[in-house]
Symmetry: C2
Subunit: 358 residues, 2 copies
C-alpha cells in the first residue's frame, strides 16, 4: 500500500499522489559547460532517467540553464545553496524545479521573493536536509537523530507554508542507512508532501548500491517515497541503473530484462558464472519486460528456463535453449551465452513488430 501524498508536477511529470515513482540523478559535469551537461543528460534520458538535477553554484552556471533546459526532454531541477538570487535566475530561466533550503537563504523577504517567483510559474521546491549539515541548534537539541532531520526539514517547510506555498517535496538523507529509514518513517507520519528518497554519501558503486538498495528499498516496501535518487561516488549512469533496478525489484517499474539465474552449486556442470557475466554485460536496453533464465543444472533448470520468455539450462558441456516454454535446440557450452543474447534480441525484435502491426 503506497501512502497517499499530495501530487505536484515537475515540468509535465507528476510526482506523488499515486504517480509512478520516478528515478532521478544529478549531472557530474560542470554546469557552466552546457554542451557537456546536455550530452550527459541525454545519455541519462536514454537510460530511463526521469528527472535531472544540476548544481548551480554561481551566476555563470545559472546563465546556462535556459539553454540546457531547451535541449533536453526531461524535467530540469536547479540545485542551489544559500544564494536566493541564483534561485530567482533559475526560475526565470525556466527550470522545472528548485532544490533549495529556505532557512539558509536569509531573511523572510528573500524567501518571499523566491516563493512568489516559483508560485507564479508553478515550480515545486524540494527541501533537502542532510544529516551531515544540520544546524548546531538542532544538533544540540536532538543529536544526530531521525527527529533532528525531521525537525530541520519541517522548519524549512514552515517558511514556505507561511507564504502559502505548498508545492513542496522533502528529503531527509543520511549516510547511515538506519537513520535514513527512521527519519523518512517519522517524516511520512507528519506530512503528506511527496518524499524524495535517498541515502547520501553512500560510497562507491558497490557498497553505495547495497546501502541505497536497503534504505530506499525498505521505505518503498513500506509504501513510503515518491521519487528516488541513488547517490554513488560513481557515474550518474550507474545511479540511474541502480535506481531503476531497485524499482523493478519491487515491481514498481515495468520494462527491462529480469535475469533469473541460479547461484550454482556442486551440481553445476557448466561455467555458469562466466556465461552470466557475459550475458549481464551484453543485455540490450529495452522498455519491454522480458524474463530471462540462466540455470546451471538439469534438475530444476529446465523448469525455470521454461517459465521464462527466453532461457537456458546447462548440462554436461552443453545446454538447452528455451523460448516461451519450448525447447528450441541444444547448444554447445562455448556458444550458449551468444545464442541466448541472439535469442533475446530476436524476441525483442518480434515484440516490436507485434507493436507496429497493432
Amino acid at each position: 500500500m503506497r501512502r497517499n501524498t499530495r501530487q505536484l508536477i515537475l515540468g509535465r511529470l507528476p510526482v506523488g499522489g499515486g504517480a509512478p515513482i520516478s528515478v532521478q540523478t544529478m549531472t557530474k559535469t560542470d554546469t557552466r559547460d552546457a554542451a557537456a551537461t546536455v550530452t550527459q543528460i541525454r545519455e541519462l534520458e536514454h537510460l530511463g532517467c526521469d528527472v535531472i538535477r544540476v548544481a548551480v553554484p554561481d551566476e555563470l552556471a545559472a546563465r546556462e540553464l535556459a539553454g540546457i533546459r531547451s535541449s533536453i526532454g526531461i524535467p530540469l531541477v536547479a540545485d542551489i545553496h544559500f544564494d536566493y538570487r541564483l534561485a530567482l535566475q533559475a526560475i526565470a530561466a525556466g527550470v522545472d524545479g528548485l532544490r533549495i533550503n529556505p532557512g539558509n537563504i536569509g531573511s523572510q523577504d528573500r524567501v518571499r521573493a523566491v516563493v512568489r517567483a516559483a508560485a507564479e510559474r508553478r515550480i515545486p521546491i524540494r527541501i533537502g536536509v542532510n544529516a551531515g549539515s544540520l544546524a548546531p541548534e538542532i544538533l544540540e537539541r536532538y543529536g544526530r537523530t531521525p527527529a533532528a532531520l525531521v525537525e530541520s526539514a519541517l522548519s524549512h517547510v514552515r517558511l514556505l507554508e507561511q507564504e502559502q506555498f505548498f508545492d513542496i517535496k522533502i528529503s531527509v538523507k543520511a549516510s547511515d542507512v538506519l537513520l535514513t529509514i527512521e527519519a523518512y518513517r517519522l517524516l511520512s507520519e507528519k506530512v503528506d508532501y511527496p518524499l524524495h528518497l535517498g541515502v547520501t554519501e553512500a560510497g562507491g558503486p558497490w557498497a553505495g548500491t547495497v546501502k541505497s538498495a536497503i534504505g530506499i528499498g525498505t521505505l518503498l516496501s513500506e509504501g513510503i517515497g515518491d521519487t528516488i535518487r541513488v547517490s554513488l561516488t560513481g557515474t550518474p549512469h550507474e545511479e540511474v541503473r541502480a535506481g531503476k533496478q531497485i524499482l523493478r525489484s519491487l515491481g514498481l517499474r515495468q520494462g527491462g530484462i529480469d535475469l533469473i539465474s541460479c547461484p550454482t552449486c556442486g551440481r553445476c556442470q557448466i561455467d555458469l558464472l562466466e556465461i552470466v557475466r557475459v550475458v549481464e554485460e551484453q543485455l540490450p536496453e529495452t522498455d519491454e519486460s522480458l524474463k530471462v533464465a540462466v540455470m546451471g543444472c538439469t534438475v530444476n533448470g529446465p523448469g525455470e528456463a521454461r517459465d521464462a520468455d527466453v532461457g537456458i539450462a546447462g548440462g554436461r558441456g552443453k545446454g538447452m535453449l528455451f523460448k516461451h516454454g519450448q525447447l528450441l535446440r541444444r547448444v554447445p557450452e562455448e556458444n550458449l551465452a551468444e545464442a541466448l543474447i541472439m535469442e533475446i534480441k530476436q524476441t525483442l525484435d518480434e515484440r516490436k513488430q507485434d507493436h507496429e502491426s497493432d
Copy 2:
C-alpha cells in the same frame, strides 16, 4: 527491535534468540573434490563467512564430508535433496547442520530415522522452501503466493514436530523480492523458529546484490531474520562480501571499513570517481571498524572528512588528508588515493598495537 526466536546451535555458533546474525554461503566446487572444497571454504572463512553449506548430491560427496569438516573452522551444513540415506551419512560424518525437506524424503519412517540421528547429535535441520519448486497441490490451492510458501514450509515443519524435533530453521525464498518479503513476514508471525533469509536465483552479481539487499535488508530492518545468505550467480566470495555489507549497512555487524564518499557534482574539482574506485579496490580486509571519508569539495568536504577516522577532502588539483579530525597535510591529486590507503593501513596497525599492549 529484533523478533525473539528460539536459539539453536550450529557447531558452536548460536543462531536466533538474540545471537549475532550470521552470514552464510554455499561452496561452488564439486563436493567430491574435497581439496578444492576445503580451499574455497578457508578463503571464505578468511573473508568472514560464518557458516558454510555444501551440496551432497551422491554418496561419493557424502564420503568426503568428514574430511572436509575436520579441515575447516566454521560450521558445515550438508544440503541434501530427496535421499534420506545421504542425510544419515552426513550426520554420521559429523556435519553441524542439515538442509533437507522432510516432506520430500518419503515415508514417516524415513523422517523418523533422520530426526533420531540428528537429535542424538544435536544437529539442527533447515527446511528450505523455494517458490520455484512448490508442490502442485500447494500451487493449486494457494497459487504462487506468500501463503503457499509458508504453508509448504509448515507442512515440512509438522513432520519434524511429530517426532518431537524442534531444532529447526526455516527459509521461504523466491526470486521475486516482494513475494520473498511478504512470505517471511507471514512466516515470522506464525513460528518462533529462527529464520534463514535469502532471495533465490537473484541473478548476476550486480542485479542480484540489489535484489538481495532490498529483500534481506527490508526484513532485517523489521527485526526479521537470524542468518542470511545472498544468492548470486557469482562467486561465493561475492556472496559473503554482499552479506556482510548488508549487515554492516544496518549496524548489525561491526568491523570492516565504512567508506563515506560524496556523489560529486558540478562543484567537484578533482577526479573523485577514479580516486574512490582505486580506494574501494585497495581497502584492506579488517575486523576493526574504521570510518573513511572521501569528499570532493571544500564546502562540506572538510567537515565530513574531519568526522571520520581517516579522510580526504578535494580541492583544485590537490586535497587535504585528515586523521581523527586533524589536518595532516595537503597532497597532490595524483597521490591522494595512495596517501589515503597508506594512512588507513597505518591507522589499522596502530590499533593493532594498541590491542596488543592492552
